[in-house]
């Protein structure tokens, strides 16, 4: 019997595996995807991006979304919400834009008040509770950057980041200049990528392909290279890859075993403590699929809260094209230098006022458009809505690849939790493992768009100041599959939450959920840093639990 069995191997799982195995406990990690090593990774667009190397085929495994057709008739459509099935999870494929949540994010209801139609609540812990763990992630997992003081800079226990910022493209200083003119405070974006060798890992190779690709040097601070590979050396950690956990068995009070499928065979594992960290949608799905006589609605779900209050990162993105010909001669060649990072963010409107009312705002990150060449070439295929070919196409391609660069911005603001956004399972649709698939429903709150637009207008000002043309912005309520949280919110009230403040299920003595599922609200930043930090916190709670 293991001390701890963990479902999943990403940012919510690996800190627990690392901490507990280092403390001498026997830990097993079950991961649905394959176990790759750093030397297996490359920048093969055809395999990784065009053919989705790291996500399952939608024929085998899919998600369903409740939707309404143009005639008003309800139907269910298939959609992929997979993010990365491999050891280390989707942290392998992240861009690693790392921002901490701010103190007010932990008490949204107290600070900004109730919002009609939204299930906003305060977290049962404060920023101060999580701060030591954010700090730990910086040092142990690896976050590079430089602290710049600004209106919403959160309190830090370390003065600056432990690792130097990545090398920057010339555009970064142009953004700084533009922001100065606009009286905005630009700051270097903290990144979960190492600029120099450290933590027994290599530095970044500036390959130009970071987000959506697994790191081929180990510089990206993904869960496998930062934590699991190191933990494997202590002899206490076992990783079972290509193992799909389909059911958690329990008594009335305790989880008794995990059932999983590997090599087409059903197998079982027992432990003292069980941790679910399969990413928000799949974690709720696993609990809902683990019905038994004590939990007829799904494990830990007698209050029917599992799957509820699913949240995403609201906001969207925009872009503008900067042409060489529009720049002074001294800057023209700098524009097309490849590989270096943009790494600029704005948080000036993390809170803002409109007509005397305080709104929780968010974060803007600037970056270059993704460098995958096939989508960039396909964009050049169109003049307006028409496909072009011949000389026109050749001209468009050369303009796109040789004469200009697209600057992109991303907006992150709160996706307010609502009654209508949740995960359920559909017993009439089974995946290749014969398990009911997740059925998603979305009902975004109108304030999400309002705030997103407010932030986007600020980002557009920066692009205009830079001299960008052909600008476009897409702020929408479409849920981004790679920025998902909630479904098993933690809280003090057993009626309205699934987990207690330590992320242990209210109803079971030995079940923890440690991915982003616990988050009742998501802050206005990408989630990964918070997931890592909370998982380190939960690791401490589990240590105490095992010691007692």
């Amino acid at each position: 019997m293991y001390d701890v069995a963990i479902v999943g191997s990403g940012a919510g799982a690996a800190p627990i595996a690392y901490e507990l195995s280092n403390a001498g406990y026997k830990v097993v990690v079950l991961e649905k995807g394959k176990h790759y090593n750093t030397e297996d990774f490359n920048k093969d667009e055809l395999s990784v991006a065009r053919n989705n190397l790291f996500t399952p085929s939608l024929d085998d495994e899919y998600h369903l979304v409740n939707d309404i057709d143009k005639d008003g008739k309800a139907y269910k459509r298939k959609q992929s919400f997979w993010n990365g099935s491999l050891v280390g999870g989707s942290s392998n494929l992240m861009s690693g834009y790392f921002h901490r949540m701010k103190p007010n994010d932990f008490k949204l209801k107290s600070v900004y008040g109730e919002i009609k139609g939204a299930n906003v609540v305060d977290w049962p812990i404060s920023y101060d509770d999580l701060e030591p763990y954010y700090d730990k992630v910086e040092k142990v997992v690896g976050v590079s950057g430089r602290v710049v003081d600004h209106k919403f800079q959160e309190k830090r226990s370390s003065k600056d980041f432990p690792f130097e910022p990545l090398a920057e493209q010339a555009i970064s200083s142009w953004i700084d200049d533009a922001c100065k003119k606009l009286n905005f405070t630009s700051m270097p974006t903290p990144r979960a990528v190492l600029a120099l060798p450290a933590l027994q890992r290599n530095s970044c190779s500036y390959s130009n392909f970071c987000g959506s690709y697994a790191c081929a040097t180990g510089a990206k601070s993904h869960a496998k290279v930062a934590l699991l590979d190191k933990a494997l050396k202590n002899g206490n950690l076992t990783i079972i890859s290509e193992a799909f956990v389909y059911k958690i068995d329990s008594s009335k009070t305790d989880v008794t075993s995990l059932k999983y499928i590997k090599n087409s065979k059903e197998q079982e594992i027992k432990a003292k403590i069980y941790v679910v960290a399969a990413q928000a949608i799949e974690s709720s799905r696993l609990l809902l699929n683990s019905k038994n006589s004590f939990f007829p609605y799904g494990l830990a779900n007698n209050n029917k809260q599992v799957g509820k209050n699913l949240i995403f990162s609201a906001g969207g993105s925009g872009e503008g094209r900067l042409y060489k010909k529009d720049l002074p001669k001294s800057k023209q060649d700098e524009l097309l230098v490849r590989g270096l990072f943009v790494n600029r963010s704005l948080q000036d409107w993390y809170e803002y006022f409109e007509y005397g009312k305080a709104y929780k705002g968010g974060t803007i990150d600037f970056l270059f458009e993704h460098q995958n060449p096939v989508p960039r070439a396909l964009e050049a295929l169109y003049n307006g809505n028409d496909i072009v070919w011949g000389k026109e196409l050749s001209k468009n391609l050369k303009t796109s690849f040789l004469e200009s660069k697209v600057i992109t911005f991303e907006v992150f603001n709160d996706w307010l939790p609502t009654d209508g956004t949740f995960v359920d399972v559909d017993d009439t649709h089974k995946d290749k493992f014969e398990q009911s698939v997740a059925l998603l429903s979305f009902d975004p709150h109108k304030q999400d768009i309002k705030v997103g637009k407010h932030l986007a207008q600020k980002a557009e000002q920066v692009l205009r100041e830079l001299g960008c043309k052909e600008m476009s912005t897409g702020i929408s309520s479409a849920p981004p599959p790679n920025l998902v949280a909630g479904g098993c919110r933690f809280g003090e009230d057993k009626k309205t939450s699934v987990l207690d403040k330590n992320c242990k299920a209210h109803e079971l003595n030995n079940l923890y959920v440690s991915d982003a599922s616990f988050m009742p609200t998501g802050g206005s930043v990408p989630y990964t840093w918070t997931i890592y930090a909370n998982s380190f916190r939960v690791a401490d709670m589990i240590k105490e639990h095992l010691q007692s």
């Binding site: 055809l46 130009n208 496909i387 040789l402």
Partner: protein
């Protein structure tokens, strides 16, 4: 399925351009009229300074994709039907197969099919294949001598693959 049936079948279009896969380059019948018409089509679509389908091995790449078990049958069928419908359109306008038209006539046919949703999708998919053969690593048997990369002074990401991807 004929062209007009396709046009009536709303929803099919949304499948196009997704999940297109590739594989090892296979042997294929280069004299098959489907492939000879395809080669002529690309010669009409590409500017003189763009890499030819011979330089990129695009036709062989398409043949490989259309014979891959990893590509959905409806996607393959649509692309194969595209050439059939191209010929139907050519006959409708000039009473000749596409390959028997002169250059100006072929351009007119292309402009004509581009006004149809199936034509737009067919051309779009043709360019997906072309660009995949232009930018993919030569390890796939395409982009011969990196001619696609050289055309746009494109530097690939490193490390490059040293073998065909396990999922391709």
């Amino acid at each position: 399925m004929n062209r007009r049936t396709f046009m009536r079948s709303a929803g099919v279009i949304t499948l196009l351009g997704t999940n297109l896969s590739a594989g090892y380059i296979i042997d294929f019948d280069k004299n098959d009229s489907f492939y000879t018409t395809l080669e002529l089509l690309f010669s009409d679509l590409l500017a003189a300074d763009m890499p030819s389908v011979k330089q990129l091995n695009t036709i062989a790449y398409i043949a490989t994709v259309l014979n891959s078990k990893k590509v959905k049958e409806n996607e393959k069928d649509f692309y194969k039907n595209g050439i059939k419908w191209l010929n139907e359109d050519s006959k409708e306008l000039y009473n000749k197969l596409y390959s028997n038209l002169n250059s100006d006539q072929r351009q007119n046919v292309l402009k004509h099919i581009n006004t149809y949703s199936w034509g737009d999708s067919f051309l779009y998919n043709s360019f997906i294949y072309y660009f995949e053969s232009m930018f993919s690593d030569p390890v796939y048997g395409v982009n011969i001598d990196e001619s696609g990369w050289k055309y746009l002074n494109y530097t690939p990401g490193y490390p490059r693959p040293n073998k065909v991807g396990e999922n391709v």
